[in-house]
């Protein structure tokens, strides 16, 4: 019992028995994502939650405040708020204040359109709020085809406003794709220029991400490039524990290196449904709803799905692999949405162990999304798909406006 009596989340991965504890679950999540609305002013091609239009059944202001009260009772120190675009909700700033007043810290993700100089000054005034600006290219040429026309400039304006307001340690959040892996140094330079911290996360084949997965997910040599870059940059760059599948290259990356779904992580969606993780918005991973008797606390502690995720996992085919202890079979959501078995290798397994299974898949049977709030009309800042297009075609809706839909 020496230095292992304590540990910080950003410390070296000397976790040992703590990981075993986490696999059994905790009394409350460490990392809770709360998507406040499905409404979004953008239409990013890879949106995890297929956001666009508000759901009429979204939690009311009073319900949202009651949920914050519950987070406070459970001692959930902070929540990651996202969407959709959370600032689109008219009560967003009211809920932010309410959370802070109730000792629930907030880190929220935004495309930056509404981070005006005035809002930036408000945000800089409290320790309890952290902001994360989404940026998926270090240049507009790489960013805008994914996030939408004008979104690069909007993100840069938000970063400048936050810096000018004296905000410290805000984040620039990048989803790593085939087109931006070569820009990692440039992203770091942008972060340094604005006094921000760089956060890199993994592209997931969830929501609309399934439509562009084949064209956007990093190629094998780029995964290696990313791993080497992360190893070289260490704890200065955040990853949200996103890339533990890369641990199979050798040394683990900083972080817990485990799938936290339903164990230390979960998602509350805009209508109050609780999912095992933010990348798994699908009925298969729905544990319950915060509106049910016993609320969120009961869903977290008693949902059969979460009990299943906290029970010992077999690892299936992966247990034969020498790297299993390092990567733990990778990301559950990535496997599910690419049609792979949950107890087999990750679709981006660095040992190439998923290639055969992926090649043999009948792609018409992929699970898809169990909800879709995508915009159906035109969007002002729509992505400009110069090179990108959907690779998974959507079934034609029964109430499609065109009388000849599906007949061509």
């Amino acid at each position: 019992m020496t230095a292992t009596l304590t540990e910080t989340s950003t410390g070296s991965p000397r976790v040992g028995r703590l990981v075993d504890q986490f696999e059994l679950g905790l009394d409350a999540p460490i990392c809770l994502t709360w998507e406040l609305t499905y409404a979004c002013n953008l239409a990013c091609v890879h949106c995890l939650s297929s956001s666009g239009r508000r759901d009429p059944d979204e939690l009311s202001t009073a319900e949202a405040k009651a949920l914050i009260d519950e987070f406070e009772r459970m001692q959930i120190f902070y929540v990651n708020i996202g969407g959709g675009e959370p600032t689109v909700r008219p009560d967003f700033w009211e809920l932010l204040d309410y959370a802070v007043d109730h000792h629930v810290g907030v880190k929220f993700s935004t495309n930056g359109f509404r981070i005006t100089p005035e809002r930036a000054a408000m945000l800089a005034a409290t320790d309890y709020v952290d902001v994360q600006i989404s940026l998926d290219g270090a240049t507009a040429e790489v960013n805008d085809p994914v996030r939408g026309q004008g979104t690069y400039d909007a993100a840069m304006r938000a970063l400048a406003n936050l810096q000018a307001a004296g905000m410290k340690d805000f984040k620039i959040s990048v989803v790593c794709t085939r087109h931006n892996i070569g820009q990692l140094d440039e992203f770091k330079a942008i972060a340094d220029r604005y006094g921000a911290q760089l956060r890199l996360t993994r592209l997931r084949p969830s929501g609309r991400g399934a439509d562009v997965w084949d064209e956007l997910h990093p190629l094998p040599h780029q995964q290696r490039e990313l791993y080497d870059w992360l190893m070289a940059n260490g704890e200065k760059v955040l990853t949200g524990d996103s890339f533990f599948h890369l641990a199979a290259y050798g040394e683990p990356l900083p972080g817990l290196n485990l799938c936290g779904a339903g164990r230390v992580v979960c998602l509350v969606d805009p209508v109050g449904d609780v999912y095992a993780c933010p990348f798994a918005i699908h009925d298969r991973f729905k544990a319950g709803n915060v509106r049910s008797t016993g609320g969120f606390d009961r869903v977290w502690k008693e949902a059969p799905l979460f009990e299943e995720l906290r029970s010992p996992q077999t690892g299936g085919a992966c247990t034969q692999c020498s790297a299993y202890d390092a990567c733990r079979g990778g990301c559950m959501a990535a496997k599910f949405f690419t049609g792979l078995p949950l107890d087999g290798p990750d679709p981006e397994c660095v040992k190439g162990n998923a290639e055969e299974a992926l090649a043999g898949l009948d792609r018409s049977t992929l699970p898809g999304s169990s909800q879709d709030h995508s915009h159906t009309g035109t969007v002002r800042n729509a992505p400009v798909p110069l090179t990108l297009g959907a690779t998974r075609t959507r079934p034609t809706s029964a109430c499609d406006e065109s009388p000849v839909a599906g007949m061509s």
Binding site: E7, S9, F77, H103, Y128
Partner: protein, 88 residues
């Protein structure tokens, strides 16, 4: 940190007990730490009412063999700002 000094939890820190020990979150640094034994949680909780670190360790029942490890753990918490010196 000396065993004869008085230390306590920083006011910006919140402690959440868990089956293995506790999670400790510092709202000012936004860093999460883990207390990996229930005994360490007990020691940390006793710091506030104790006249010094030594009293907290003894009243929690930390044995002589474990004492050095616990002092190192408290040292780490002090270095990251989770524990602060009590003003005499």
């Amino acid at each position: 940190m000396l065993a004869g000094e008085a230390w306590r939890l920083s006011p910006s820190v919140s402690v959440r007990p868990e089956p293995f020990g506790a999670l400790v979150y510092d709202f000012s640094t936004r860093r999460l730490s883990f207390l990996k034994t229930l005994l360490l949680l007990d020691v940390v909780r006793r710091l506030d009412g104790a006249s010094d670190v030594d009293e907290a360790l003894r009243s929690a029942g930390v044995g002589d063999g474990e004492r050095a490890g616990y002092l190192r753990a408290l040292d780490g918490l002090a270095a990251s700002g989770v524990l602060i010196r009590s003003t005499p």
